[in-house]
Amino acid sequence: MPTHAQILPLVFDKVSYVAKGARLVDEFSVTLDPGTRTIILGPNGAGKSLVLRLSHGLLQPTSGAIRWEGPGGGNKASLHQAMVFQRPMTLRRSVGANLDYVLSLRKVPRELRRAKTAEALKRAGLFAMRSRPARVLSAGEQQKLALGRAWVMEPEVLFLDEPTASLDPAATREVENMINAIHQAGTKIIMTTHDLGQARRLADDIIFMHQGRLIERAGAEEFFEHPRTPHAEAFLNGELLP
């Protein structure tokens, strides 16, 4: 088990994000606790990906504050996070070198890197392909590589932005299994999706967004069985939202 510095909980305090005059995230306040798989749901343009990027520090809020309130949540908090994107970015190197790269960034000694890389590749089911150029892998394999690469960093929090949006059902299932495995190893999952089935399969708790605002925050079962807002109900019924 990796030992974490405990950067969670993550607190959004009236966070807004404005680009080109448009208020894309609007007075967003939420607290994210360790342990669960949190899924951010909402229609296109709801601001889900922006919330992920704001959380991870890729974007800076226009107003409001984002704080890591755990004991380890100082300015080193970014070292305990990782992110996987919708379109996997793989370095133009071998599969193994992709993992070795991030380990060297974390200043892991060379001897240790070999072992950690091999172990992570086995977990991702990519060990046999370790010396193949990453760019020739299929989309599903590349996404698993991106997940394995995130995993090898042993993050306390893993952000995933629509990780299966461009994958076929079989690859989607494998990626979901890997996300669960990472979660079981002790990592907090914060993920966006617009796939309701996936949300039902993975979520412990749901953040439902619409037009940049937090509409509903609930446990997964409660959200899917008894949505409290008309927006959420409409969304779950597959209707167009006003």
């Binding site: 990027r53 996070q81 970015m89 133009r92 193994g96």
Partner: protein
């Protein structure tokens, strides 16, 4: 047409004879152009990457300068270097005019902008793809430049080869700053110009064919390296 065939024959004879003068000329051509390419790459790669990735004061000026320099005729570059290195010029004391070093300087100035411009393009494209993930990794600026240069190595190799092509093919600049001195600064292109002016069109063309063979050889080996590197990349 018959002249081209007999030039081809003459080229073969020149190669087969293993003429020491010719070997010396080829050696100097390679030494000058390869050194110039090396210098251009050492300067052009980081400059191109910096222009692609960072916003700094003077950047627009640098971009305009790089693009303008790319189109400069070699003769103009030769003239500028000549005026700088001439005894009457600012760097006259170093006594570099009419030396291989002067030719290297001229060619490096000629191809540095090409390497920088192609690097900028490659790195910008790559950053589109890598930017967010590298930021997520927590990669600093220096490491990011190095990562992008390394991952863009195959495209960059093409840029560097284009630079080598321009360097080894140009005659105007090396003629002016090298002086085409026999056994000192005579290279393939200035020999071709000299033989043409003597009306020895066949020998000139034969030298041209040899230059072509060298260029083919270098491009083929670069392609082979690239191919091997791609299949065994690590």
């Amino acid at each position: 047409m018959s002249e081209i065939w007999s030039a081809l024959g003459k080229a073969m004879v020149l190669i087969a004879d293993f003429d020491p003068d010719l070997v010396e000329i080829i050696g100097l051509s390679l030494r000058v152009s390869l050194t110039a390419v090396l210098i251009a790459a050492v300067i052009g790669l980081p400059v191109g990457a910096a222009v692609a990735l960072f916003r700094f004061p003077g950047r627009p000026v640098l971009v305009v300068l790089i693009n303008a320099l790319m189109g400069l005729p070699p003769v103009v570059v030769g003239l500028i270097v000549y005026l700088l290195l001439s005894r009457a010029g600012p760097f006259g004391v170093f006594n570099l005019l009419y030396s291989p070093t002067a030719m290297i300087i001229a060619q490096a100035i000629l191809i540095g902008p090409i390497v920088a411009a192609l690097t900028r393009q490659t790195v910008e494209d790559l950053w589109q793809e890598y930017g967010e993930q590298l930021t997520s990794f927590g990669v600093g600026p220096g490491r990011a430049v190095w990562t992008l240069l390394w991952d863009g190595r195959f495209s960059l190799l093409t840029g560097v080869l284009a630079g080598f092509g321009r360097a080894s093919a140009e005659v105007g600049a090396v003629m002016i700053v090298g002086g085409n001195i026999d056994h000192l600064t005579r290279v393939m292109t200035t020999s071709i110009a000299l033989e043409t002016s003597k009306g020895n069109l066949e020998i000139a063309l034969a030298l041209g064919i040899i230059l072509l063979i060298i260029a083919l050889g270098i491009n083929a080996s670069a392609y082979a390296i690239r191919d091997v590197a791609y299949r065994t990349e690590s």
